[in-house]
């Protein structure tokens, strides 16, 4: 490995440590879940690598147990993963000039990877493209290895992991704070939080994300003039 890549890997790794904890736990849970549903280890292995979108993989397991309906599976996936559209729009400029790695960066852009690649303060002497590449790759490795180990040894794990999944909540809180400190105007954070809570109250935990996204989009569009003025002020 040449110096540029090694330096990028060394810079990227610490950012991914909390995700290692969270993904190993959730990946293990996913592997165990698949195991309990009666799938061999190949299913969590292949699905975690190919789909690489946590919540969707749990849903996909249930789709495999229902009757065959690929169109419904496709449409459901679009709805559950629609938030990726927001990530892509936010990364249009940041992925520029990353060469062939760009395809993989887009392919592996899950919630956690996006959050780190968007907010990380990458030192100027570190290659940005390789940094984001290693964040994406490490995160995917954590997730897939967790799922495989869970699928293989799921029944044998006995240590009290209750509450470990909170590591993801905590990480998103830190990422929000980092972005909060970085930006002068916080209106969009309030818009996101407020609409999400309202939609959650109205539609319940399984349905609210899509409507919340729509409301965020509409509000941010309507408030463009004042928001741009405040950001520039």
């Amino acid at each position: 490995m040449d110096g540029v890549r090694l330096r990028a890997l060394k810079t990227a790794f610490p950012y991914t440590v909390p995700i290692f904890a969270g993904f190993w736990f959730l990946g293990l849970t996913y592997g165990v879940y698949m195991n309990v549903l009666g799938f061999s280890v190949w299913y969590p292995a292949i699905m975690s690598a190919a789909i690489f979108a946590g919540s969707m993989e749990f849903v996909a397991a249930n789709l495999l147990l229902a009757s065959f309906n690929p169109l419904q599976a496709f449409l459901m996936t679009l709805m559950i993963n629609a938030r990726h559209l927001f990530y892509g729009i936010s990364m249009l400029d940041r992925f520029r000039g990353t060469g062939r790695k760009k395809i993989y960066l887009i392919y592996g852009m899950c919630d956690e990877t996006f959050s780190i690649n968007y907010t990380a303060q990458i030192p100027p002497q570190v290659n940005r493209g390789w940094f984001m590449f290693y964040v994406t790759l490490l995160n995917q490795l954590y997730w897939v290895s967790g799922a495989v180990i869970g699928g293989l040894f799921g029944g044998m794990i006995h240590f009290n992991t209750k509450g470990l999944d909170f590591v993801m909540t905590s990480m998103f809180v830190v990422i929000l704070l980092e972005q909060w400190f970085k930006e002068r105007d916080h209106t969009s954070a309030w818009i996101g939080g407020g609409t999400s809570v309202l939609c959650l109250l109205v539609l319940g935990p399984d349905q609210f994300v899509l409507l919340a996204m729509l409301c965020i989009l509409v509000l941010i569009t309507l408030l463009r003039k004042p928001l741009e003025r405040r950001a520039a002020a």
């Binding site: 610490p14 909390p18 292949i46 190919a50 789909i51 979108a53 996909a60 789709l63 495999l64 065959f68 690929p70 169109l71 599976a73 496709f74 996936t77 993963n81 629609a82 990726h84 927001f86 892509g88 729009i89 936010s90 990364m91 249009l92 400029d93 520029r96 760009k102 887009i106 392919y107 968007y118 907010t119 209750k162 509450g163 470990l164 909170f166 590591v167 909540t169 905590s170 998103f172 809180v173 830190v174 990422i175 929000l176 704070l177 972005q179 930006e183 969009s188 954070a189 996101g192 939080g193 609409t195 999400s196 809570v197 959650l200 935990p205 994300v209 919340a212 996204m213 965020i216 463009r224």
Partner: protein
């Protein structure tokens, strides 16, 4: 299992296709060679903060604030995370502190 192996492969492929479409679509619509419309650039600047708030609400979506323990473990876990981060600005420390607080609370106080 009701499905044949081929049907399972098609179902997984449909999910992969749907996921990849949501990830690649913005890049297909606004290729790097051409200038991204100002409105889309504006969205790219404004959406992340609101999405991070959305993700936190999403993580807490199953927490019941009306029944004991009234979301207290979550609120305390987040409180410790925020306090540590405002104090030290060390990502790993803040996350570890918040998570350990939460684990301790749900395994002992509200077990």
């Amino acid at each position: 299992m009701k499905m044949s192996l081929l049907q399972q492969i098609i179902t997984i492929a449909a999910v992969v296709l749907g996921t990849m479409l949501t990830r690649f679509l913005p890049f297909l619509f606004f290729p790097a060679g051409r200038k991204t419309p100002p409105f889309v650039q504006y969205l790219g600047r404004m959406l992340p903060l609101s999405v991070f708030s959305l993700l936190i609400v999403y993580c807490l979506r199953h927490v019941s604030f009306l029944q004991s323990p009234y979301g207290l473990p979550e609120l305390l876990g987040i409180g410790v995370t925020v306090a540590l981060h405002a104090w030290k600005r060390q990502m790993l420390l803040s996350i570890a502190g918040g998570t350990l607080t939460y684990m301790l609370l749900v395994q002992t106080v509200w077990a």
